[in-house]
C-alpha cells in the first residue's frame, strides 16, 4: 500500500492505494469520480482520457502512483460554476454524443487538441488527432463538427 496526493479538479486529495492501482481506478473507485470511463484494456478507446498537468493522458495507462503530486482535471472539473466549458457546449449544440460513454474522453481529448493546435484547427487534423478515441454511435461526423466549433469558441 502507498499514499498518493494529487489535486483533482482544484481540490487536494489523497488516498491509500495498492501499488498496482491505475489512475483511472483511483479516480473512479477512491474518489467516486465516475465520469471517467473504462472502455477497453489496451489503451485504445480513449474513454478514460483526463488531463494531467494540463496534458491529455489515458488514465488507464498510468499508475496512480505516477500521478502523485500532479494536477488532474476530469470531465467533472471542466465546467465552470455550472457553466459548460465551450467544448462541452459545442458537443451539445452539434449532437456530438449519443450514448455518452465515450463522451468524457472525447471532450477531454478535444480540449487538448485545441490547446495544441489552436482554435482554427482543420478537419483532417481533428480526425487524425481523434485517432485514439473510439465512438461506436456517432460515426464521428458530428464529433468533428463539435470539436471545430468548440475550438472556435475556446479561441474567442
Amino acid at each position: 500500500m502507498l499514499t498518493v496526493n494529487m489535486n483533482v479538479n482544484g481540490k487536494p486529495t489523497s488516498g491509500e492505494i495498492e501499488n498496482r492501482t491505475l489512475l483511472v481506478q483511483f479516480l473512479r473507485e477512491n474518489l467516486r469520480l465516475t465520469g471517467t470511463h473504462v472502455g477497453c484494456d489496451t489503451s485504445q478507446c480513449g474513454a478514460c482520457v483526463v488531463h494531467v498537468n494540463g496534458v491529455s493522458v489515458k488514465s488507464c495507462t498510468i499508475l496512480a502512483a505516477q500521478a502523485d503530486g500532479t494536477e488532474i482535471i476530469t470531465i467533472e472539473g471542466l465546467a465552470n460554476n455550472g457553466e459548460l466549458h465551450p467544448m462541452q457546449q459545442a458537443f451539445m449544440d452539434n449532437h456530438g454524443l449519443q450514448c455518452g460513454f465515450c463522451t468524457p474522453g472525447m471532450v477531454m481529448s478535444a480540449v487538448d487538441i485545441v490547446n495544441r493546435n489552436g482554435s482554427d484547427v482543420d478537419e483532417p487534423t481533428v480526425r487524425k488527432e481523434l485517432e485514439g478515441n473510439i465512438c461506436r454511435c456517432t460515426g464521428y461526423h458530428n464529433i468533428v463538427k463539435a470539436v471545430q466549433a468548440g475550438a472556435k469558441n475556446m479561441g474567442g
Binding site: G39, A79, L84, D93, E123, C135, C137, Y140
Partner: protein
Amino acid sequence: MAENGVGVSVRRKEDSRFLIGKGNYTDDINLAGQTHAVFVRSPHAHATINSIDTSDAAASDGVIAIFTGDDLAADGIGPLICGVTVTSDDGDPHRAPVHSALAQGKVNYVGDHVAIVIAETLAQARDASEKVEVDYGVLPAVTETSRAADDGQQQIHDIAPNNVCFNWPFGDKTAVDAAFEGAHKVSTLELLNNRMVTNPMEPRAAIAEYNSGTEEITLHLTTQNPHVHRLVLSAFNQLAPEHKLRVVGPDVGGGFGAKIFVYAEELVVGWACRKVNRPVKWTADRTEAFLSDAHGRDHVSTAEMAIDENGKFLALRVYTKANLGAYLSTFSTMVPSYLYAFLLAGQYTTPLIYSEVKAVFTNTSPVDASRGAGRPEATFLLERLVDVCATDLGLDPAEIRRRNFIPVEAFPYQTPVVQCYDSGDYEAALDKALALADYEGFPVRAEEAKSRGKRRGIGLSSYVEACGIAPSAAVGQLGAGVGLWESAQVRFNPTGNVQVFTGTHSHGQGHETTFAQLVTEQLGVPFEDIEVIHGDTAKTQFGMGTYGSRSLAVGGVAIAKACEKLIVKGKKIAAHALEAAEGDIEFADGNYTVAGTDKAMSIGEVAFNAYVPHSYPEDLEPGFDENAFFDPLNFSFPAGTHICEVEVDLETGEVEIVKYSAVDDFGKLINPMIVEGQVHGGIVHGIGQALLEGCRYDSDGQLITASYMDYAMPRADDVPNFDVDYAPTNPPHNPLGVKGCGEAGAIGAPPAVINAITNALNIKHIDMPATPENVWRAAQSAV
C-alpha cells in the same frame, strides 16, 4: 407547431448529464458492502471438464465464495434459453442444446463460463480466479461456418447431428428452378458476410443486491430491455418470481443488439448475491466482451439471379450457411431465418424467391442480432448480386435497379417472401441520391483520379428493411415466445408537469428528447416540464425494450395514444369546471376552450382539478394519468439509396471514401438532428464491416481478434463526412407517420462500399472486410 415540438432539431435533454460526467452507467453504481466477481473462463474452444479444484483459490486473500455449474443446478437455476423457434425441414424444431450458465461437464468455446469467484476486491477476485484449477480434456474444435456441417467434422452437441441447428428452406423451389431453366441470363455470386463483434463502447456489467427482508433481488444491468430480462430470468431461469425481481437498465453505453440478450453473467451474478447475501458486482473488461458478447453476421452464401432479356429479375435462389456459435443466444435463431430470408425481395419485383438456410453450431461465441440483424446480410447479398447482374448484362447499376423497382403505385406491395411493404418510393430516393452524389459527373472524377495513378469507383445500394419490430400476431406465428407491442404511461403531476413512462429503453437514441417533443406537441406542455422515464421495472409497466428500430414507430405511438386519452378525460373535467357541455369543449395548444366563447383553462389547471377534485364530475375518477399499449398491424419499412465513392491506391490497397451520399425514407422526422446522427452512426457501422472489421478464430478456436489492437474499429480518420437527405413516404398503418431509422445505415452501407471498390478495380467481387491487403491482392489479380 409547438416550440420544441415535432420536426424541430431540439438539443438533447440527456446531454446535460453526459457532458459533465453525471451519467449513471452500471459500473458507476457502488453499493454498501459490495463484493466483486470474476468469471473463470475456458481457455479451450472445445473440451471436457474432468475436474475443478477450487481449494487453492478459496484460500486466497479476500475470497468470499466460488461457485460452479453444480451449485447453480443444485439451486434449480435453469439453463439459458432461446426464445424463437424455427422449424427444420424434417418437421422438428431447431436443435437446442442445453446451455447452463456455468458449464457442466464440457466447455464449447473460448470464454465459456466455468466458475464465478467472489471476493472483497476486484483484484483479489482476479488473483483467486487464476488459482482455480480446471482439468480439461481438449477436443478438436469446429470453427468454420462453411465446413461445420461437413461429414467427419467433430460433433459439438449430441442433440445436433452434423452440427446442424436447423435447415430451413423457404419458397417454391420447383417454380424457382423452372424460372432458372428458361432464363435469358443467370448471374451468380458466392460471398460471405463477415463476422462482427458488436462492440458498444460500454462493456457489459451487472450489479445485484438481495434484500432478505423483502426477498427481492435488484439487478442493475447493461440491458436494452429490462422487462424482457426480468421475464426470462424469472420464468425460465427461476432466479426469482417476477414480482420479486427488479431489473434496472440505467444509462447504457450503446447496445446495437448486443445488450438485448440474457447472458450467463447476469443470471449468475443475480443468483450469487442471494447466496453470499451481499451485493455482487461484475464488469466485463474489453477482452471478455470480445470473448463472450454475442457476435453478429457470419454467413457463407451462394446467390443466383435469373434475368430476362430486358434486364428484369425473374427469380432469385439463395443458399446460406449461418454460424450460430456454440450455443443458442436469446433470439439467435430468428436472425438468419425470418429477419434474413423475408428481406430477400429488397426493392424489387422479383416474383419468385427460394432460399435455404442451414444454421450450424461451431466452437465460437454465440451469434445473435447485431445492428440490422439479418437485414444487412440479406441486403449485402442482394445488392452485390444486382451489381453482378448489371455487369453481366452491360447495364448501368442505376438502370438495372430502376427497371426492377417496385413502382410507387404498387404499394401496399405483397412480396413473395411474407412481407407486405406498406409504403415507399424507391425511384424518388434513387433520383435524389444520384443528384446528391453527382453520379453523372463521376466519369470526369474517375479520369482525374487516374491521372494521379489512383482508381475511383462508385457504388450504389438500394435497400429496404423491416423494422419497428412488432406485430405480435405475426411474430407469434413465426415462433416468437413474446408479443411485440409497446406500452406507455403519461402522468400529470398536480403542479402540471408531466412524467412519461415508456417500455422502450434508450441507450444513445435520445428518447428523453424525442418523446418529450411528441408530448409537448400533443399536450402543449412546455418541453422543459416533461420528463421521460425508462429502464426500471419498478417504475414502468411491462414493455418490450429497444431493438429493431422500434422505439418511435411502436413506443412513440403508445405515448401518443396515452396523451389522447388524457385529452379526452380533460374535456370532461374542463366541461364541468367551465360549466359547458362536453361537446362544446375544444382542445388546442395546451388549452381547453368553450367553443365560441373566451372561457378557457389550461391542461395544467385541468390536472390540478383532477388531483384536487373539490368541484368535479360525479361520474369521473380523480387523477390525470393514462396508460396505453400499441400493437401495430405491420412492420415499418424504411428504405433508401446510398451511394459511396472511393479512391483506391493500387500500390497500397488503401481505400479512401471520398464521398458518401445517403437518401433515406424514414417517414416523418420528429427530431431531424437525432435522425441524422443515427444515419451517420449506422453508415460508419456499415463502413466498419465493409473495410475494417473482421472477427477471426484460428483453427483451434482461439479468438485472434480479441482486442482493439487486433480488431479494427472505425476511427475518426477512417471515415468521411456524409451527405444525408430524405425522400419520405407516409406509412399508412403508423398513426405518427414514422419509420425506424436506427439500423438503416448499417444495412445500406456495406454493399455501397463494396460495389464502389469492385467498380474501381473492375472486378466481380471482393469479400469484406476489404482491408488494404485484400484490396491490394485483388488489384494485382485484376491488372
